[in-house]
């Protein structure tokens, strides 16, 4: 399994990667990273990940714009958000664009594992 972690914060990418490393559900997965939606779109085309875990609010291209761009390109793998913002409108927008989950920061590895149950 290959997972693309997208966040403009290097610290948060480190937190997400560390949480993933503790989860049996994704044991042995290869993790690749991108710093914003624009880089993630290119990385997704090149690396063909099985799952993308993305922040929402990022420079260049936001997480929801990334999801929409991947849908438009017809190449969207399983996709979920890990974001500090979590409003009902964001949940609806994410869901309507095909996102499998939206986990709010701060999160625990258990919360991420629960979310991944619907995505992998």
């Amino acid at each position: 399994m290959k997972i693309l972690v997208v966040d403009d914060s290097k610290a948060m990418r480190a937190i997400v990667k560390r949480a993933l490393s503790t989860l049996d559900r994704v044991a042995g997965a290869t993790i690749v990273e991108a710093v914003d939606g624009k880089e993630a779109f290119a990385t997704a085309q090149a690396e063909q990940p099985d799952l993308i875990i993305s922040d929402w609010n990022m420079p260049e291209m936001t997480g929801i714009e990334l999801l929409q761009a991947l849908n438009d390109a017809g190449s969207c793998p399983s996709f979920g958000f890990v974001t500090s913002e979590s409003t009902p409108e964001m949940h609806e927008l994410a869901r309507s664009n095909g996102a499998r989950f939206l986990v709010s920061k701060p999160f625990t590895p258990e919360a991420l594992d629960d979310a991944l149950a619907s995505a992998v």
Partner: protein, 152 residues
């Protein structure tokens, strides 16, 4: 949720516990850093139905410790960029949680971070609605919620 119902201490405590594994100990008597202490400040602005900002301030000692925990690195291995990124992300999470609690349609900015000694953080046109100091193993964490005030 109304602005007065926002619990900055709970929001910050949850972030520090979940992300850093650190416990914040209630309100501290002082919410002011000593003038000779280097302080790292992260700020995010909220625009839309709510107009304001959230700031998170840590002394350099705690900022380094937080970055160590975030990146699982030793002190000597950390770069300034990683410390800045850590405090920015703490502010981002605090601001995002405030924005979500307030509801409505608003946009969260990307975080900005500054560091130095003996300075004040001022956002022109805003007033401080809440400001708390919390203790983290002897180090101070200060969180503030500002709201735009058009009468200023």
């Amino acid at each position: 949720m109304q602005l007065a119902e926002i619990e900055l201490d709970r929001i910050t405590g949850d972030i520090f516990a979940a992300i850093l594994g650190l416990t914040l100990d209630g309100h501290r008597a002082s919410d002011t850093f000593p003038p000779d202490e280097r302080v790292v400040t992260g700020v995010v602005q909220i625009t839309g139905d709510f107009e304001g900002a959230v700031s998170v301030q840590l002394g350099e000692n705690l900022a380094l410790r937080a970055a160590q925990l975030m990146f699982a690195l030793e002190p000597g291995e950390l770069t300034d960029e990683e410390v800045t990124d850590t405090v920015g992300e703490l502010a981002n999470m605090a601001g995002g949680n405030v924005k979500s609690a307030l509801g409505g349609s608003s946009t969260l900015s990307l975080p900005s971070v500054t560091a130095g000694r003996d300075y004040r953080v001022t956002l022109p046109g805003t007033v401080i609605k809440d400001r708390i100091g919390q203790d983290c193993d002897g180090d101070l964490v200060v969180v503030a919620l500002m709201q735009r005030d058009d009468t200023l």
